[in-house]
Amino acid sequence: MSEASVIHDIGYQRYTGPRLGRLQVLTAMYVHGLRAAFGFGRSAKAKIFPWMVAGIVLLVAVILAAVRAQAGIVALNYVQFADAMSWLVILFVAIVAPELVSRDMRSGVLPLYFSRPLRAADYVWAKFAALVTGVWLLLGVPQLIMFLGAAFTTKTGMRGVWNEVGDLLPAWAYSVLWAVVFAAIGLLIASLTGKRAFAAGGIVAVFLMTTPVVGVLSILPSTDAQQLSGLASPMTLVAGVGTWLIPASNIGLDLGRFGVVYLIEALALIATCLLLLLARYRKVASL
């Protein structure tokens, strides 16, 4: 008690190395988000659902490629494949979007993130880019498998391969559109609740409840209403843009003269969802 108190040097140091900026935070979040989308770096339990969906899609692609190689029948072309997988894409978004944004809210790490140089817009972009990449990989890799199957069994040599490349590239662009539209809507819904279960249910409900609206509008006694009916659901909206921009796709939608309306609505929908996301992250009080 009598000795004078001493402050011991226990080795605390200031960090003097280089400090990485916003770009590096953004890249790190993007990579982390993409890994989380497929459950990499998480337990085996986290991999079950995304890989189950990816497995089904890959299996379908392999079957289609095999049927084409053996029997020469093109059951689904590249664009139709993306449409046929729409339910699985919904399921994938419902699995991954809550994983990306709802978890952060639930575990209360948002204030920690935003105490870095990271801005709200960066956070949204990183998560959005990760989800878009994830969904695009989900569709693009199976399309590549179908392409490889077709390219290696073509009867017309290099010309046949070039033909296939010409079919594959627009289909990849179409998959990007799928990914962007679905990721924007999915992230917006997931960002509203911190409970992953509710977020997943909400995403599926929104996508599923819009489909019958299209069915009903398409039987109204008005040609305009029928041709515009696809606007009511994200899935037919994307299919409509595909029909308009890729005439060879044979999706089988009758758009009449309204093709450009589909494109405008798709762009407006994406922009609105992203703006709403930005607005939502202006305040990050935990939900």
Binding site: I95, F198, G201, V204, L208, M209
Partner: protein, 236 residues
């Protein structure tokens, strides 16, 4: 038992969660009204609205939200411990929660389906759909309640069942229809209303036996599972 039911109901309807149950039924009735007001023949819109939206989406999704909500949210929050430590049989806890889930989802689905059915054809069609939905709500609720006890991600697993099993496989692989609650509901509604808008693909005895089997079996399994339930922390 009544206290558990009361707490469960309050948990379901407390805060903003109850609003989640509103849009789907409203959309169903709204679409039926829209078609009715444009004088579209019911043979055209009956199947997409009543079966495509009503029985394939509204009923399973609402049963999923409610069925996993009654027990799953308490497991998530950890408040289930408070009920488990009370000196009451686990059977009563399950039965009370299942009862609430069935009543809530049956009412939320049967009422709009009755209105839409009455708009599409006759009150008989409405009654058929409502009874089918009520029976379906029992089977779905018991199934999803069991799911929320056997897995940490009941909603996702339930969505997989609804989307992949009933949605994708039920459409392309005819064999899975025998094990699909949606098909039982369609069979009941078809038999009661004998309307040509509905096409039953499963025979009535199969539907009755399997519905009862699913409801009772899942309830018994849930009771058994809750007997040795261990609360674990957040995983994965």
């Amino acid at each position: 038992m009544s206290t558990v039911a009361y707490i469960t109901t309050r948990g379901l309807f407390g805060r903003r969660r109850a609003l989640l149950l509103l849009p789907l039924p409203l959309l169903l009735v709204g679409l039926a009204l829209l078609c009715r007001s444009y004088d579209v023949p019911a043979t055209d819109w009956g199947t997409p609205v009543l079966v495509g939206l009503g029985l394939a989406v509204v009923l399973p999704v609402i049963s999923l939200i409610v069925g996993t909500g009654v027990l799953g949210s308490e497991v998530d929050d950890g408040t289930l411990v408070h009920i488990l430590t009370k000196p009451m049989p686990r059977r009563d806890i399950i039965l009370a929660k299942l009862g609430v889930a069935i009543v809530v989802s049956a009412v939320t689905c049967a009422v709009p389906l009755f209105i839409a059915g009455a708009l599409a054809g006759s009150a008989k069609l409405g009654v058929g759909l409502a009874v089918g939905a009520a029976v379906g709500a029992c089977a779905y609720s018991a199934f999803f309640l069991l799911l929320s006890l056997v897995t940490r991600r009941p909603v996702l697993l339930g969505l997989v069942y609804i989307l992949v099993w009933e949605g994708l496989l039920g459409r392309f692989v005819s064999g899975t229809r025998v094990l699909s609650i949606e098909q039982y509901v369609i069979t009941f509604a078809d038999r009661i209303s004998s309307s040509d808008l509905l096409v039953a693909r499963v025979s009535l005895p199969v539907a009755v036996v399997l519905s009862v089997l699913i409801t009772v079996g899942c309830t018994v399994a849930a009771v058994d599972r809750l007997r040795s339930f261990s609360m674990a922390g957040e995983t994965s």
